[in-house]
Symmetry: C3
Subunit: 228 residues, 3 copies
């Protein structure tokens, strides 16, 4: 049983914080898309809980999202906050991005350890840990009828920090050095990598010899409804 | 074992009716999107069975959609009907909407009780009951590459009647008064609320101090392919 | 235990080949949509493994996609190939289409037998077998924010060959004549039907008395980013 890296209450608090900041990003996109208050709540819930729900369905665990009331209430709190104060929340976009990066780091670590606890191999655990961290954002963009920002070349690196964090956890498990310290280090590494990617606008390369110029201009043209 | 609210055959008939009318709404959207006959069948099946499939995956039950042949055949019947008679079916849109409201009321009740039967808490059961009722429509809109009408501010209330019905069932379970009568009452309440929402065009508020006018005009402009 | 139609190593090799060619189709769409290298990898993985993952979630099996490292690595190999050589790969589109048809034939057969092994009825097994074969492509198109080509009337038949193959397997099970030979025959039938559908541009009919001309023109207008 690897999962008790931190004391249960510390772990739970970290989970709630991660869920809350992911929910903020979903709620803000919903406001930009002009959804009503229920649409904001749905997008906040899906963004915050979707990645963990996917992980739990794959490993056959009782979905944490439906087992813990706090997991369900945190996105509602984010909805209320964004509903009434969204210009203020958007003004603090830098802080939201930093929290989102923290959620990314935390979820790739807890996702990997939980998957390994349920019997997956090391590589599969790391992949599922990464999917836990990025899955909610992908579902958010699908519901909002946008190309997932995870896939777009014109967005700063998001998957790579999660991959690095998840791989670090898998390596720690492999060499039997997974402790609160080392998994905390993995989470912080993913967190810092994401902050650096945003600050320096690190981007991943596209395929060599691209020829589909039209698609590119399409993506470059200003799209006010999805501007981040 | 709460689930046997009605006699099994009554329950089964109600389920089939709900599945059938949901399938009609999927098939009609497929015709509007100009899909071929297989696209119509796929959209009918997904709309009718998607919400229940999601519920069964979350609670770990054998998906009813793959256990009961009638559940699979009802959407095919809806497909044939819409394929040959869709102008006539669209002319009866009022009747279809009323049946869809009935399906909404029924599914939020049966979804909540089934989720509780499988060990979820009261709040989680109500949430999953609501998801059962609205999930198929969300999947329908995702497959049709449209913003889910559940999330859009310019559509009449759809989630709220389902939430009310599911919450009534959860309260009845809490106070141990869940009987065929009280759950029937919950279904009827959701049904009537949805009818009223359509008749009076009840809508939910959007976020305060919206500034994203462009997105709004976007949504207001006539879009013939998705006009309801 | 029907599933051991072929020797395990032959079965495994066929699976890997099917996964690989499905991954190629996902990676090529990602390049056309101008995704970065991680987007290409995600779309390759989802296209190749999505159908089988859906099947395994429904029947409650441990997802093969997370149990076998080869299943995960084959799409990464496809990603590398498409990343560096995509003009060459696109020039061999005919070969890719033929391999994709082979994957379709193989997956509808193995999907149906696996579903039956896990206790589903014959009709449900055939439906899930077809869903296994076409599911990855649907998820690919949803992630790429396009109308699934499975549903569009202006694409050559894709679901029908898979339905025929899956139905043949179900009939063989029903009459207790499922052998490596007969299931091979079912796979080849689906494969050849798909090749013929592409060669002769077989298409399915749309609903009678369509009136939504606008949507039609919409679909007919050239869309360079999704041109197959």
């Amino acid at each position: 049983m690897l999962q008790q890296l931190f004391s249960p209450s510390v772990q739970h608090t970290l989970d709630i914080v991660g869920i809350f900041v992911f929910a903020i990003s979903g709620a803000l996109l919903a406001v930009r898309k002009n959804f009503d208050v229920f649409g904001i709540a749905v997008l906040a819930e899906v963004t915050a809980l979707g990645g963990g729900l996917f992980r739990d369905l794959v490993i056959g665990a009782t979905p944490a999202a439906f087992a813990d009331l706090g997991y369900f209430l945190a996105p509602l709190l984010a909805t209320v906050l964004v509903f009434f104060l969204h210009p203020e929340v958007e003004r603090t976009q830098g802080a939201v991005n930093a929290f989102d990066a923290a959620g990314l780091g935390l979820f790739c670590v807890t996702g990997t350890t939980k998957a390994y606890d349920y019997g997956l191999g090391l590589t599969a655990s790391a992949v599922l840990g990464m999917a836990t961290a990025v899955g909610g954002g992908v579902l958010r963009d699908i519901l909002a009828n946008e190309v997932p920002s995870l896939l777009r070349w014109d967005r700063d690196l998001y998957a790579v920090p999660a991959i690095v964090g998840a791989a670090m956890v898998a390596l720690c498990i492999r060499y039997e050095v997974l402790t609160p310290l080392t998994s905390g280090l993995a989470a912080v590494t993913a967190f810092v990598l994401r902050l650096l990617a945003m600050h320096y606008h690190w981007r991943a390369p596209r395929a060599w010899n691209r020829r589909s110029r039209v698609a590119e201009e399409d993506l470059l043209s200003p799209d006010p409804s999805s501007a981040g």
